[in-house]
């Protein structure tokens, strides 16, 4: 079986190389049979990679511990679903998973565009770029980090009785779906990049590719957002200290392409509606793709230290070469095609929606740069000064909180500024009420005793943005309700359906606002660690916590102990929580299964961290105000994104005003 798997990967690599060759030569020499052959090779590569993946999954499911990868990442006691996740739990398997997703995406792109005449010239180049990336990953998986390697002593295969198993921390439901979503996001950004390069190579920087690309970018953005949030949810519920974001280099690596793609999704509107920022969009698409590759490089090279990183390997050098070649070629191509990327229209006023997009892009990219700089700075500093330094969470918080707040402000400003130009009167009408409302809200917060500066500003801005978005929905819905004689809710639905992109986008913004409310709650976290005997009581915030009982047991995978904690507030019983401590039989590692009482105002979070020698429970208890808003915000964001993908009921046409120039001398005008 391992031989068939290995053969599939080598054949996929060879066919991938052939597909690139056939597509490029076919496009160059105008040979249709080569073009068709190159596209069919894409389907063959997909079939081969899928077969290899299926064989690896089969080996994991059937406990084939002759295979080193299966032995290292699975064991007999693991539940079936976690065995399946072992596919991407290690270096080799995750590279195969990358290849599988990319080959699937490539096949989907080739299949869905096969009858679209507008892509006929571009398609061979799009296929080549996609296959070039796939061939790179297939090279790694077929020749460098082979997943079908057999455990052997000398020439004899050495079957093992049982495997080492997946890290117990990863045996949690969000970890089952977190990596696939993140990978779907990472890999998905290759498609917009391929379209961008295809349009550049064929000198067709028109609107066609941008429409398709925007849709792909939006879908992959949703995947990436989901992946990031699932990771945050996992960290919150599993690591035992309630943190959902630790500014770890690998976490940062997932955020960087998300930021640049967010930037692209905004600036692409400028190209669609005004024919502006064509070069900038190319740069953003390319930056997103290369940041995805950089993220993969950081996770796998050991360049920066991270708890999420795979074991150190020689993969780093391959990625450096790929990045260098890719960035070099892309830069050359963009520079070479600059004459084709000229703006069709001009900026008419600084006070306009166009300008707000520019500032939004600037702030998003500043945030991206700050995170990238902070992530790489320890390496840069060590190279320059020879001394190691640390860049921990306080640095990222200090730099990114002001940037994030300004971005939140722009989220509120953007929708209220008109395209082309906004008059002072229009601005006053649009901003007066939200600004006054936010100022009053902030004053009330201060009067209520909230003196955390950033928290007050953040809540104020959340109010401001909510008011601006609310006023947009209110005005539009009211107008439709009056015109069509329907109720306001029906009016809001109709309004959204008429322009799904605009109002879906507002809902996404609302999701971000709700998430910011959740982030801001962290300013008021409470925590207390106690050693308590059964029957004793302690206090945290408004809660009285009593260790009512302690129980233990075991199953074939782990030994467990849990404490029963009675939660009361103001004398009345609220609930009983059951934090658990596990010790896994095979790995010997210990994990906590925290107990959380979730509520919109605050989460009560209990971690059974251990026991003292005299049988006291070591309990870490936390109150996390508003943290649930982060997860609620994610759902709102997802709903908004899905609405954006629904075609609008009314097709809007945007007039592009073109100023071709002015005469050197004034022309006579009759009155």
């Amino acid at each position: 079986m391992e031989n068939i798997g290995g053969l599939c990967l080598i054949l996929a690599f060879c066919l991938g190389v052939y597909s690139i060759f056939a597509s490029v030569v076919g496009a160059w020499k105008q040979k249709p049979f080569l073009l068709v052959s190159g596209q069919r090779a894409v389907y063959s590569v997909w079939a081969l990679v899928t077969t290899a993946s299926a064989l690896l999954v089969y080996a994991i499911m059937t406990d084939d511990f002759r295979i080193q990868y299966v032995w290292a990442h699975s064991n007999k006691a693991m539940a079936t679903i976690y065995k399946f996740t072992a596919w991407w739990g290690g270096q080799e398997g995750s590279l195969l998973f990358w290849s599988f997703i990319l080959s699937t995406y490539t096949a989907v792109v080739v299949f869905t565009t096969r009858k679209k005449h507008e892509y006929r010239a571009m398609m061979p180049w799009i296929t080549s770029v996609l296959m070039f990336t796939l061939v790179f990953f297939l090279m790694l998986v077929a020749f460098v980090e082979h997943p079908f390697r057999i455990l052997a002593i000398g020439r004899a295969a050495t079957p093992m009785d049982d495997g080492r198993g997946l890290d117990p921390l990863l045996q949690y439901w969000t970890m089952v779906i977190h990596p696939p979503f993140l990978y779907l996001g990472y890999v998905g950004f290759v498609v917009p990049f391929a379209f961008a390069m295809g349009s550049l190579i064929t000198k067709q920087p028109g609107d066609g590719w941008i429409h398709t690309t925007r849709r792909w970018a939006l879908i992959t953005w949703a995947f990436q957002s989901t992946g990031i949030l699932l990771g945050a949810g996992w960290a919150y519920a599993v690591l035992g200290w309630g943190g959902y974001w630790g500014w770890d280099p690998v976490e940062n690596a997932s955020l960087l392409p998300w930021i640049t793609s967010t930037s692209f999704l905004h600036s692409v509107m400028m190209q669609e509606k005004k024919g502006m920022m064509k070069v900038w969009n190319m740069v953003l698409v390319a930056a997103t793709f290369f940041l995805c590759i950089l993220g993969t490089f950081l996770t796998r090279s050991g360049v920066v230290s991270s708890v999420h990183a795979f074991a150190q390997s020689s993969l780093g050098n391959y990625f450096v070469v790929f990045l260098a070649v890719g960035i070099g070629a892309t830069t050359w191509l963009i520079l070479n095609r600059l004459p084709y990327l000229k703006s069709e229209t001009q900026l008419e006023s600084v006070v306009s929606r166009e300008s707000s997009f520019l500032f939004n892009n600037l702030i998003l990219l500043a945030s991206c740069f700050a995170i990238l700089w902070g992530t790489l700075f320890p390496v840069i500093s060590e190279a320059v000064t020879g001394e190691k330094i640390t860049v921990d969470a306080p640095y990222f918080n200090r730099v990114n909180i002001p940037i994030g707040l300004f971005l939140l402000f722009l989220t509120g400003v953007g929708p209220l500024v008109a395209w082309r130009r906004s008059s002072a009167d229009a601005l006053k009408r649009a901003f007066l009420m939200p600004t006054v409302g936010a100022a009053i809200f902030m004053s009330v917060l201060v009067a209520l005793g909230i003196h955390h500066v950033y928290a007050v500003i953040s809540f104020g801005l959340c109010f401001f943005v909510t008011a601006t978005i609310g006023s947009e929905f209110w005005k539009g819905s009211k107008s439709i309700a009056a015109k069509d004689q329907v109720n306001l809710l029906r009016g809001a639905f109709e309004l959204t359906h008429r322009n799904t992109r605009r109002y879906g986008g507002y809902i996404v913004h609302m999701g971000i606002v709700i998430m910011f409310i959740g982030f801001t709650g962290a300013a008021f976290n409470l925590d207390r660690t106690v050693e308590a005997k059964v029957g004793s009581t302690f206090k945290l915030g408004r809660y009285d916590l009593k260790v009512a009982d302690m129980k233990g047991g075991e199953n074939e995978n782990y030994v467990w102990n849990h404490a029963l904690i009675e939660v009361r507030s103001g004398g009345s019983y609220i609930t009983t929580l059951k934090p658990e401590l596990r010790k896994y039989a095979v790995s010997g590692s210990q994990t906590s299964n925290v107990a959380i009482r979730r509520a919109l105002n605050e989460d009560l979070y209990l971690n059974f961290a251990g026991m003292t020698a005299d049988s006291k429970v070591i309990l870490q208890s936390y109150v996390f105000p508003l943290v649930s808003w982060i997860w609620v915000g994610y759902w709102v964001l997802l709903i908004g994104t899905l609405i954006c993908l629904v075609p609008s009921k009314i097709k809007l046409q945007y007039a592009k005003m073109e100023v071709v120039g002015i005469a050197r001398q004034a022309q006579p005008v009759e009155n």
Binding site: W241, G246, L358, L362, S381, T390, I403, T529, M611, I662
Partner: protein, 159 residues
């Protein structure tokens, strides 16, 4: 009754084994003073990006002894700066949770605002450039009259 007793015994035995499996040394408690001083120092355990003050890992091999040391130094009358200096002497600059704003490491703080300023400069340049009118040659003599005549002719059709 006998079955019930056996179940109890089994449960107790499991609880005992489980307790032994997870028994730890008592946790070190953290005071406000320790947290304040510890927030300036990085937890160098390698598993988190927290500070000595905020690391939540019980029995962390770096944060726990570091907190004990901070308490000891504070007891000896050292202020937060001197406590930090002690750790820097022992670990090097990596003991700080954030890069010190001096020498080359100041670049870590300078570059993000510089990037924003450069971006603002870039936007200002782009706006200036895109709003600058493009000068074109004046229209050939009589062309305005010709266009006006054509327009009049077209408009006359609607009269």
């Amino acid at each position: 009754m006998r079955v019930k007793l056996n179940r109890w015994k089994t449960s107790l035995a499991i609880l005992f084994v489980a307790t032994l499996c997870v028994a730890q040394s008592p946790t070190a408690f953290i005071t406000t003073d320790i947290r304040r001083a510890g927030d300036k120092l990085a937890c160098l355990c390698g598993a988190c990006k927290n500070t000595v003050g905020t690391c939540q890992m019980l029995g962390c091999h770096y944060a726990a002894p570091a907190r004990e040391k901070i308490a000891e130094l504070q007891k000896a009358g050292l202020d937060d700066e001197k406590v930090a200096a002690f750790f820097v002497k022992r670990e090097g600059l990596k003991a700080f949770a954030v890069p010190p704003a001096e020498g080359f490491n100041a670049m870590s703080w300078i570059m993000p605002p510089v990037a924003i300023l450069l971006g603002l400069g870039g936007i200002a340049w782009w706006i200036r450039r895109s709003r600058k009118p493009v000068l074109v040659d004046e229209l050939p003599a009589g062309s305005a009259d010709r266009v006006r005549a054509e327009l009049d002719q077209e408009m006359a059709k609607f009269d």
